[in-house]
Amino acid sequence: MTSTLLIASACTVLLALLVGAYCVAAIDGAITARVTGQTPGNPLLIPLQNAARLWHAPHNETETPDRPALRLAPVLYLVLAAMGLALVPWSRDFVPVDLTTGIVFWGAIEPLATVLVFLKGWAPNAHFPLLGAYRYVSLGLSYILVSMFVLIGVALPAESLQISAVVDTQAELWNVVRQPLGLPLFLVVGLGVSFWGPLNFIDADDLHGGAASEEAGRVQLLWSTGRAAMLLAFSAIAASAFLGGWHGPWLPGPVWLILKTLAVVVLLVILGHTLPRVSPERFLTIAWVILLPLSFLSLAGAGVEALL
């Protein structure tokens, strides 16, 4: 990779991360305004206003926190989102990081995110963040397994673990049609990884805000940005794995990717505002008894199709 391409790739990922996190916040604000029926101001400015407020807000300090963990957790979570986003092909010729094991790499990001979320809950030395973190970790495995089977399913037609190859196989037929169970199952994973809506077990109101209950100011801003960035990175991976990525008529490839990614973001945000947080116990049952067998079924279907 030439240095120019390296710089272009890094700039693209960083720009996409920042603009994407802003878009997630703006979409969330717009959907919130639609649900509440109240328009508190210009929806395009609200994310910037909130970010500026947090930037200026005073910092909160708990008693004897684990300071390295407190600082590292939100930063690394944001870095994980950036790493995920770097795997996404923007066009046939431009993939910031085109790993031959891209699918496996994304599969590694999900459990690493769980570790960081636990670190986030552990760091402040307070009980509600710790409870949120425990609750999150106890449910993590149940959807990460689903993610693995679903992603192996999209790798089978491509006969490759490279995300660009997965996108290439969808030139004629998107995986969402080829493997109809895949995308709905993967969306559940997205809600879990970015702890959004019904699967927000960590920052929940029933724990006074959980892992985020002890933070204020710039740490809170960084954590919120990380969450939005992870939702974006997940949506971009979902768009590449199931919706044909950059493929599409008339418009340039990157535009198609952006549109498809934002469509997944909108869908996830709407789900977050429509579904209440499910009971952790019930979700565990649903994940092991329904979602996991369905992901097996989806994988088996993909395997049969690959053999034929």
Partner: protein
């Protein structure tokens, strides 16, 4: 220049406020929720301002000071209470009389604070741990202070787990009296095994609840049935909003709170909030829990009793309601989800009754008992506190289930004597 621009941008965002609700502070809290100038937050650590609303009991003054200390400085305290402002805050706290101005005045005060035109509140508590750490290390992963409460600091000690007999470190802490998860004034000592509640001891009962004035007036004189029913519908809708917020549907909760102040007779509950959203509460944690059994059943009143199939309702004895064809709605299960559905159904019924009553110009008949939104209100026996039922209901539940169960009860006793005196009524 850039800093000024960023500050201006920040000033356009709502200010996060943590509410401390005292006796008769409910109306101010609702006004705060509706204000576009502020956002009500669940944790004082995330707030820029503290809003004290209503009267704080003497026993909770120290707790108020602790909550004040948890709002990161520089901070603002807004005082919307008949109580005197603590001496330490007299120079910095803003005193607000009109509840509808509360949000806006807090926002202005925070802007003044940020601009350096106003000083921050002083700390009311010393900035040091209430109990010293005398172990090895810094207390986070440190050792040397295990078990019990060495030097006043509660520490973990392995005990048998409730579910599988394994040994777990129980986590003991107290919550309240100003936690948004509990009714105002209620405090509890909680013992957790993992996220399962192993112990729930009520340390202090909730403050007495102040009902909308129309229910007190109905005890003394005829009032328009339409007004009674609209107030009932608004009360239930606000409680449903709290349940939605607890379960992650904050935007729908805000929608309901805004609708609750502008209810019209004959409105359908489905116009206020998506029916499927309310129905989805059947799937949240604890929806099937919180069933009161045996001898305690008789202590439930109002919607909580009707949610378990008990059709007692003082409106059945009022000729005005009989003429309107009133029949109480009831559920069967008596669970958390049944109580939420009962609030929803009673709110819908109240809006329908209000329309019929407005058409017939129906007036209530004072007969010594009024069916309030939390049960039968009489001059001699207003609804009493039932928070002592909670330990038996909550022990063994997961934390999220327990919070749902708590959010499905009206536990507090109802204020009566002093409200009637204030209104100039009574015998």
């Amino acid at each position: 220049m850039a800093v000024t621009w960023l500050r201006r941008l920040a000033n356009q965002a709502p200010v996060p406020v943590f509410p401390v609700v005292g006796i008769a502070g409910e109306a101010a809290l609702e006004a705060l929720y509706l204000s576009p100038a502020v956002t009500v937050v669940q944790s004082p650590k995330r707030a820029r301002a503290l809003a004290v609303m209503g009267s704080i009991d003497y026993r909770d003054q120290q707790a108020l000071r602790r909550v004040h200390g948890q709002v990161p400085a520089p901070r603002v305290t807004a005082w919307c209470s008949a109580m005197a402002v603590p001496q330490e805050l007299s120079g910095s706290a803003i005193v607000v009389d009109a509840t509808d101005q509360l949000g806006q005045q807090i926002q202005q005060a925070v802007h003044s604070l940020d601009a350096g035109q106003q000083s921050s509140d002083p700390n009311l508590c010393p900035d040091q741990p209430p109990a010293p750490w005398k172990g090895v290390g810094d207390g986070h992963g440190g050792e040397g202070m295990m078990g019990g409460k060495p030097y006043g600091r509660p520490m973990a000690m392995p005990e048998d787990d409730l579910r599988d007999g394994l040994q777990l470190d129980p986590l003991v802490f107290s919550i309240g009296p100003f936690s948004p998860l509990l009714p105002p004034g209620m405090a509890a000592k909680v013992t957790l095994h993992g996220d399962v509640i192993a112990g729930w001891e009520v340390l202090s009962r909730p403050y007495e609840l102040t009902l909308p004035a129309v229910f007190y007036q109905a005890l003394e004189q005829p009032v328009a049935v339409a007004d009674l029913e609209l107030a009932r519908a608004a009360f239930h809708i606000r409680r449903l909003a709290a349940a939605l917020q607890l379960n992650g549907l904050g935007a729908h909760a805000r929608r309901l709170r805004h609708h609750a102040v502008e209810l019209k007779p004959g409105q359908s509950i489905d116009d206020l909030v998506n029916a499927r959203v309310l129905q989805s509460l059947r799937w949240v944690a604890g929806a099937g829990k919180g069933i009161v059994h045996d001898e305690n059943w008789i202590r439930l009143r109002g919607p909580a009793a009707r949610a378990g199939g008990d059709a007692r309702d003082a409106r059945l004895n009022d000729p005005a309601y009989v003429a309107l064809g009133f029949e109480p709605v009831v559920q069967k299960q008596g669970s958390c989800a049944a109580r939420w559905k009962q609030w929803r159904d009673e709110a819908g019924q109240a809006l329908t009754l209000a329309a019929a009553a407005a058409k017939a110009r129906a007036m209530s008949s004072p007969s010594g008992a009024v069916e309030s939104p939390v049960g039968e209100l009489t001059k001699s026996t207003p609804p009493v506190d039932i928070s002592d039922l909670m330990p038996s209901l909550l022990v063994g539940l997961e934390w999220s289930e327990a919070m749902s169960v708590l959010a499905s009860f009206d536990m507090a006793a109802v204020r009566y004597t002093d409200v009637i005196q204030l209104q100039g009524g009574g015998e």
